[in-house]
Symmetry: C2
Subunit: 209 residues, 2 copies
């Protein structure tokens, strides 16, 4: 039980196998897709035996969770950047939504792991919902900036949830080939995304009647 030493962080044989395993997993994820992401393949990619990961992760799920956490961090950064670069206040929310979908489109395998990988399907990862500057909180804050009433907590939560659902739904749909004609008709994928977000008002609209 040595807990007093200074150079605590550097492990023994490999250097930093946890890190290497996560990197190997992300490499495999990009090159071969989620279905090729077996624990054995990750170990192989990292150059260790199939059982080695078990000294750093309880099981495969825990490794995937670590990968997913990095994905959420990346997403938070993407949203943060989009938030800053948005021109008008009014456009900020849509910019956030577009950034969300673009992230999912550019990292489809990682995005899948972020929702699928955590073996606990009954709740979102805590850092999505709770921590400051989490993706969810950024959306909520942006809503307030855009004019939502921060004192009406329920309405604010509903609106944040609505934005989140819209972005997630679109993120999973946008890759389907069926929308290709629509994308070309509108000129670009981003135009398509913005168009969809604009039409989200359909649920509260009377369509000019």
């Amino acid at each position: 039980m040595r807990e007093t030493t200074a150079a605590e962080s550097r492990p023994y044989h490999h250097g930093d196998l946890s890190r290497a395993l996560i990197d190997a997993a992300r490499r495999l994820l990009e090159s071969e897709g989620p279905s090729a992401l077996s624990l054995r393949a990750v170990a192989r990619e990292a150059g260790v035996s199939p059982a080695a990961p078990y000294h750093h992760f309880k099981d495969k799920g825990e490794l995937l969770e670590a990968v997913a956490t990095e994905g959420w961090d990346m997403l938070n950064q993407s949203l943060s950047a989009a938030r800053k670069s948005a021109q008008s206040v009014k456009d900020k929310l849509t910019a956030l939504g577009v950034a969300y979908v673009v992230f999912a489109r550019e990292n489809p395998s990682l995005y899948r792991i972020m929702y699928d990988g955590s073996r606990n399907k009954e709740e979102l990862p805590s850092h999505v919902h709770m921590e400051d500057d989490s993706a969810y909180c950024q959306v909520r804050d942006t809503l307030v900036e855009a004019g939502a009433d921060p004192s009406d907590e329920i309405a604010l939560e509903l609106a944040t949830t609505a934005a989140w659902c819209a972005a997630h739904g679109l993120a999973e749909m946008a890759s389907f080939k069926q929308f290709d004609t629509l994308k070309t008709a509108l000129g670009s994928e981003e135009a398509f995304l913005r168009g969809v977000f604009e039409h989200m008002k359909i649920f509260a609209d009377d369509h000019g009647k």
Copy 2:
């Protein structure tokens, strides 16, 4: 090559193994969840050898596709019923959305297979998008009934897509525990769903400013 006989539909040994396999798969899906849905387990449940399914389905994916197809049919029926029972024209679209999410909540494993199971992740199943009375077409028709301009094809497609994304996003989120407090604050899960749909207009709203 006997193709002339009348009693064509009834196979040889088992009676109707394809049917039995699909039923066994759906039984397993409900009782054990999607992760327990191995081809061997399905064969076991149906009382045949592990290789028997290969005379009726090319591989595991094709069996899952058959299961998914039944799911889409069920969903189409749910939407159709909701469409008829909606009170006002204005409420029809939201009723459709609620019915969609309720279906996904009541058949979570099946819903997952419907999107995950088909090994072609690049397009939706054809009967979702193309056939008459498919879920997608029902949404589009309802939009027209509610006042959308049917001559502006692009806007109509965008609105339909927006509705579909909203419902799918909410369907995947609604099961998360994080929203429990919101649901109880609003009195019921349906109130929560309607609340979220109402707030979808956020993307085109100035929030009273």
